[in-house]
Subunit: 501 residues, 2 copies
Amino acid sequence: MSWNKDKTDCCETTHQDSHYSPGYYWLGNNTLKVPLVLHKENRQRLVSLFLSNHKETIQKNSYILLEGGKSVTLYDSDHEPLFKQEKYFFWAFGSDMPDCYGLISLDDALNPISTLVIPKLPAEYATWLGEIHSCEYWKSIFLVDNVIFVEDMTEFLVKNNATTLYTLSGVNADSGNSLTTPKFEGIEKFNVDTKLLYNDFSECRVYKSPKELEVLRYACDASVSAHKAVMKNIKIGMKEYESEAEFLHHSYKHWGCRNVGYTCICAANANSSVLHYGHAGEPNASTIRDGSMCLYDMGAEYHGYSSDITCSFPANGKFTEKQKIVYNAVLDASRSVIAAMKPGVNWVDMHKLAERRILSHLLTAGLLQAANGVDELIENKIGSIFFPHGLGHFLGLCTHDVGGYGGDAVPKVNSLRTTRTLKAGMFITVEPGCYFIDHLLNGAIADPVKSKYLNIPVIETYRKFGGVRIEDDVFVTENGCENYSSDLPRTVEEIESFMKK
Amino acid sequence: MSWNKDKTDCCETTHQDSHYSPGYYWLGNNTLKVPLVLHKENRQRLVSLFLSNHKETIQKNSYILLEGGKSVTLYDSDHEPLFKQEKYFFWAFGSDMPDCYGLISLDDALNPISTLVIPKLPAEYATWLGEIHSCEYWKSIFLVDNVIFVEDMTEFLVKNNATTLYTLSGVNADSGNSLTTPKFEGIEKFNVDTKLLYNDFSECRVYKSPKELEVLRYACDASVSAHKAVMKNIKIGMKEYESEAEFLHHSYKHWGCRNVGYTCICAANANSSVLHYGHAGEPNASTIRDGSMCLYDMGAEYHGYSSDITCSFPANGKFTEKQKIVYNAVLDASRSVIAAMKPGVNWVDMHKLAERRILSHLLTAGLLQAANGVDELIENKIGSIFFPHGLGHFLGLCTHDVGGYGGDAVPKVNSLRTTRTLKAGMFITVEPGCYFIDHLLNGAIADPVKSKYLNIPVIETYRKFGGVRIEDDVFVTENGCENYSSDLPRTVEEIESFMKK
């Protein structure tokens, strides 16, 4: 772009270099240009599934009604944390604007009429928060059929003879929380159904479309690149949070990822045995010590879609013998699972496979003992002492994405976030781990049945070892699966060679 | 620290390299070691003020009861945003643990007995979130007299014959929100007073203690250093968010500031006229253009205390003539205010002084016209067309800190966040600005009274100029004031010379 002299202090700002342009979300430079037709296709998928499952029930002039996230302030203050959109609404509309609603007509499965309902902004919005755009502008951005104001929603629905509004209400099994039922002035004029939609909608989110996969691949690529930068720059004596700073910077500056899907876990030393280290109470504040393992679980997010990747590696770049034993146990579990994953395979079996591989390595290395081999260890639940979490979870707009407890899932098995049979289109993390967690070891040693399988003197030498987790983001294809985070150095040799460079 | 060979894969983790040690918060390396006696002194100050103001009312065995922030998840998901403590509770106890309460006895003004009330954590906390520490441990960290569990709070109060519990309830005038009244099982056994405490507590937070000032100085130093790094590294063609990434990285990696007090405003081009640019709807996504002004408003936070600093500078490091005119108008306003600030000076007068300086520059430069000079412009409210926000606000644990509407404040004057008379101990931002905001200019041009003071053809050449804000964090001393962000390049010459290096 060239400027003539007269114009040098009056820069035009145009919306081609905002994050939105008609039909696209894009942060410029080398970042991914996301076609917002992704969300139009999502709406079509949803309506099509919902109508086919409830042909008999759904009457003419019915709508899906979604409520987007509200802008919130912290406690009594006017501090607004960076807004994050409610994810069902985002899945369907792709808009990161607070205080919106969305309406999707159920009259036509192939081309459902969609209406984005936005707040009417006061004139001073332009002073404080930016240009106020017209409904036509937003219509062109989000590829919806209508954009109307919240205050006109009832009139719009009445004019269209709306009968039933299907809204989301259902318990998210990971959190135990439910979405709140949408409220707006005039809602009492309609029949509101809070039951029928939830299962179909969460099921729809389980299967990732080609366009969603492009975004997920990009988020994974960003994380892989940032994880590598962190591994390259790690130095003994650094604080763990310096690695977090590096990851956040790399994925934001070079990949446009302003958010991470979850708080960064940068655990060195024995902290690597704390599964969700890094929160405000344990803020990645230890000094990284020579000889320690690092377990870094960090995932960049782009256009709302999150990656979730863990790298474990020795802080000084060279594995000790003990570190090799534990690392190779987890790597074998990881590679065995990924080799076995395909449609028709049950996730509980994959978890058991991972557990079996880990136990088998610990047995061979002499940490465990069992006259009848690994089967005996499994029967006596020795696995969860060292691998106390589930093998993985669905991943998408949420880090723990919805749908894990739907489909053919059985009631919760230990800490597994899903027990479903894999189908093509699912996107799931594979994250076996092996940890030396004081209170679990103490409990097992005190247990007369379990303790006899433990070679306690050897295990004692692993106290304060920390832990190892290897986490990849894997897409289930028609015939097998594809690991979206496969560009990471993963074997002992690859990691040592990568960190030496 | 040395390691013998046998120990190289079993790193001890000890709490000297956590962020807490007995009596201190510290993130290691060159970060500030904050003595947590700061909060003990805060409690003493609060009790002393509260007792002296309400000698007659407060009976024996009364307590101040505070409720800390609750851990929350986003919408229906289990995603927990990084916990931020409620600020009144933090001011008094310094703890960043969620789900706590605090009790402060009102029986002794000099040495009030303080009790931190913490949740009893389930055993699996140790697996997922980290070591569970004893009450004795937390007592040694936070220098309180007692640490008890939430479930024991009622028994504790009953045993101590508690009569009245004074809690916080009052409207934060910046947000219009109120804190929720604390609730716990058994609270009905006590007399709960929600009226008396709020004003005294917010007034107490207005005056910063020497220890609080050390933390604020550190947060300012971190921001100054990070702003300089951003200015050094800016390049035409970069995205605005790359500057945000740089600021966040610099202040976190080198200064241990994990949080910023507010969302970074990185506005280049005409975006610099959007006062609170940078939110999710305008996510610092423009390309920085040659010839444009940058207005970067970013403030690092350390141990809960926030800085709030704005730098305005030409993206290419060299001011144009127009940029000099606007910049020097704002700089003159800023320096005039800081030169005049001292106890006894009223903030409304400071705002008017800033406005007068800005208008005077615009008049001289021919953007404005007035037969009777600046006074006529002021009488006709021309100032708020170009400077539509208040001169500054209290700063501390909150970016818009509490107390601005207390003391001798008069009902809200335009957008001023305080109208108080300055007193020693106050900490306040000084942030005059001058912006060319389309809808305000259009409104003024359409106004028959205002338009005659505008030299419209000249002003039209400033359309899309954006804006300039210069924001410093200033402490009111006994005799004058001290600018905590004075190490920034601020004059045209300083900025040009700094950016050339």
